[in-house]
């Protein structure tokens, strides 16, 4: 596949991620912070997000499984996850966290457990999407091309 084709494929994929609500404008901010002096910025932030998310999800699973549930602690973890997902533009994960926090406030453990599953699902979804996107970017750069600049309005 030649570079132009790859770039078009990338654009199409990005557009679909936005249309489907996986990513929001914040992700574009990240792309804009990447330049020749920091060519790996997006990959680095996204990788950090994956590591951090997996840690939070582990902590959350542990917290909801406790005999005596500490809703404050669960809320603190979800607040963290909401923050990090918002920072990279993972919109669906962020929204799932918002819903989760509401149930923490209500101290509804069954709803919380269900929310945790939701958040996990959304995270896995966006992780797959981002990995695909970053793989496409890698291929473009390896073929000597540059990653297109996307406008979002």
């Amino acid at each position: 596949m030649e570079v132009g084709q790859m770039q078009r494929q990338w654009m199409g994929y990005m557009k679909s991620l936005f249309m489907e609500g996986f990513l929001d404008g914040q992700f574009l901010q990240l792309q804009q912070l990447q330049d020749e002096n920091n060519p790996e910025f997006v990959v680095e932030v996204v990788s950090l997000f994956f590591e951090d998310s997996e840690r939070i999800l582990k902590d959350l699973s542990f917290a909801v499984d406790q005999q005596s549930v500490d809703f404050k602690k669960i809320d603190a973890h979800v607040h963290q996850f909401k923050g990090s997902s918002a920072s990279i533009g993972a919109q669906r994960v962020k929204n799932a966290c918002i819903a989760f926090r509401n149930f923490c406030e209500e101290q509804n453990i069954d709803a919380c457990r269900s929310c945790l599953q939701q958040v996990k699902q959304e995270y896995i979804h966006v992780k797959n999407k981002l990995e695909t996107l970053l793989r496409l970017e890698q291929q473009i750069v390896a073929a000597g091309g540059s990653i297109p600049m996307m406008e979002w309005n």
Binding site: L33, S84, S87
Partner: protein
């Protein structure tokens, strides 16, 4: 007192989130700021040379032109840090900016009343960071005015 690099402002960024630290550092560096990023208010105070007891404030070697801190942090909050900085002899004139993921008017007002220059909603944008230079330039002018004239 240690001098900041010529024409470069030094910003101390405080955030317990590793992702947000990375983001704010990149945003600040894009604006040509020199950045020191720490993950807690306690570490920020240590970096500034301010210990818990204000009476033991030592002569500062560190030159920080602005502090930007997250509000919600485990242990000491950004608000606590703001207060400690404003109470200190050496750093009370340093502009402090608060960041928060939550839009709580009472929180915002409390920070501004305590002396914060700006309150940024997260995720912080380039347009927010662009608002910082005027505060830094204003401090620089004030600092220069307070210098004894050497003949």
């Amino acid at each position: 007192m240690g001098m900041a690099k010529e024409n470069q402002f030094h910003v101390l960024a405080v955030d317990d989130s590793i992702i947000d630290r990375m983001l704010i550092e990149r945003l600040l560096k894009t604006s040509s700021f020199q950045v020191t990023a720490v993950d807690s208010a306690t570490k920020a105070l240590k970096f500034l040379g301010l210990v818990e007891d204000a009476a033991s404030e030592i002569h500062q070697e560190v030159d920080v032109n602005l502090i930007i801190t997250d509000y919600c942090m485990p242990g000491m909050t950004g608000y606590d840090l703001l207060r400690k900085v404003k109470e200190s002899k050496s750093f009370k004139d340093i502009p402090v900016v608060i960041m928060s993921s939550e839009n709580v008017p009472s929180r915002i007002n409390r920070c501004l009343e305590e002396g914060a220059e700006e309150f940024f909603l997260k995720p912080v944008q380039q347009s927010d960071v662009n608002k910082l230079k005027p505060h830094l330039l204003k401090s620089k002018v004030k600092e220069e005015k307070e210098q004894p004239i050497n003949n």
